[in-house]
């Protein structure tokens, strides 16, 4: 797909590249500076999780055009250890950063659509969309 671009996450510096990619696409699609900053924060969170918990994986950014709407899709894919209890992880206050509002629930709140699939031993697949308003 030519409207999708990806960044491999292997070390901490790749998080910066993923952010850069996300910001460029968000800007290009017409997101304002506040939303750009929010989207890149979400990317940071997902990329950092890959780096910390899965070892490696990738972050992809996709432009979406649907029913006259424009949006940005954020994918985070890895084949790391996966997450055992998704319900628990999606609960506020669970993340090790509890109280900072970051982590997966924070990302979910920020985006308009959020889906997570994960099985222990197989990896984690997160898809989130932010629509341009």
């Amino acid at each position: 797909m030519d409207n999708q671009s990806c960044v491999k996450i292997i070390n901490e510096w790749d998080i910066v590249s993923a952010r850069q990619l996300g910001r460029n696409v968000a800007k290009e699609l017409g997101f304002g500076t506040v939303d750009q900053a929010r989207i890149t924060t979400a990317i940071s969170e997902l990329a950092r999780n890959i780096f910390l918990y899965a070892g490696q994986g990738q972050i992809c950014i996709e432009k979406l055009y649907e029913n006259g709407k424009t949006g940005l899709r954020l994918l985070s894919i890895d084949s790391g250890p996966g997450i055992k209890d998704l319900r628990q992880v999606m609960e506020d206050g669970y993340s090790t950063s509890g109280g900072l509002g970051a982590g997966l629930p924070g990302v979910k709140r920020l985006m308009d659509d959020f889906q997570i699939d994960s099985s222990p031993g197989e990896g984690t697949d997160i898809r989130a969309i932010k629509w341009l308003r």
């Binding site: 304002g32 500076t33 506040v34 900053a37 929010r38 890149t40 924060t41 506020d92 206050g93 109280g99 900072l100 509002g101 970051a102 629930p105 924070g106 709140r109 920020l110």
Partner: protein
Amino acid sequence: MDFRQKLESKYREILTNYLADRSEQALYQGQKLSRNAIERNIPPEEIVSIHRNIMAEMFPEKFNDKMQESFDILLEVMVAYGFAYREHQNLKHIQQELRTEMEIAANVQKTLLGTEVPCKKGMDIGAISVPAKHMNGDYFNFVEDENNSVSIAIADVIGKGLPAALCMSMIKYAMDSLPENRKTPTLVLENLNRVVEQNVDLTMFITMFYGTYHIDDHIFSYASAGHEPGLFYHAETQTFSELPAKGLLLGIEKNTKYRKYEKEVMPGDMIILMSDGVTESRTKEGFIEREELLALIEKNIHLKAQNIVQNVYKELEKLQDFQLRDDFTLIILRRNVLS
């Protein structure tokens, strides 16, 4: 105009005023605006963005590119605060839900554990039980039976709140299911001990006092499973003494046997039962002294039993600055003078 646009124009007005006269008035307006924005769940990064946009508009030359770009950093930092702010909003909401749930649970518990203070000729009985939090880990129950006696159970789970309350519901159920002929104080405690030992986890202990007042011969027979000692008031000598009782807590040892005690009750005498929430009422100076408790009871002794327990509670509540540390239960049984 939607709220965001209103916010922006208000912000512009305040900023313009302030830059013109640097007045405290404008700053105060700023504070009011923030309240409004917080009420409407506007995250901090929005405010930073509004500030930047207005500055760029008002001072196209002076607010140069470098200054504008510096706001990217501020914005980035504020986005993280925004995340925390949203989580806080959500946690507040969850807390409200939990509170509502607890209130409902507390009502269910009240209905479940509810007991009526019996009205018996020749006797005057008063009881009060107040939970420290929503749910009560203390429990008391009155049973009247056909051979003209009143039985009273008072129990306290070591621990408070929800776990204690759940545990109490089990005790109540177990007690209700005991057959009539097993309701002597020692048998009740021995039965409940087995129930608790089998069903409750090892870290949960329950103390319990069970007594039966035989109205025909005015004998109070009782047994205790490690419960806070009861008191006895001798009307004739106007003195208090402890109701002696020994016994292991419920749930420690499967085959515990309990000893039965008896006490003859003369006209005007009182039996005073309580949970440790009474004796462990804590003031700044430490636990209340036993003398203080006795003095409180004495001060009210001319009143009906129900008024005595209520007044003692009120005084102790006040002594503790209205913050109960433990569930509080106080019961008084008095043999009327004319009986």
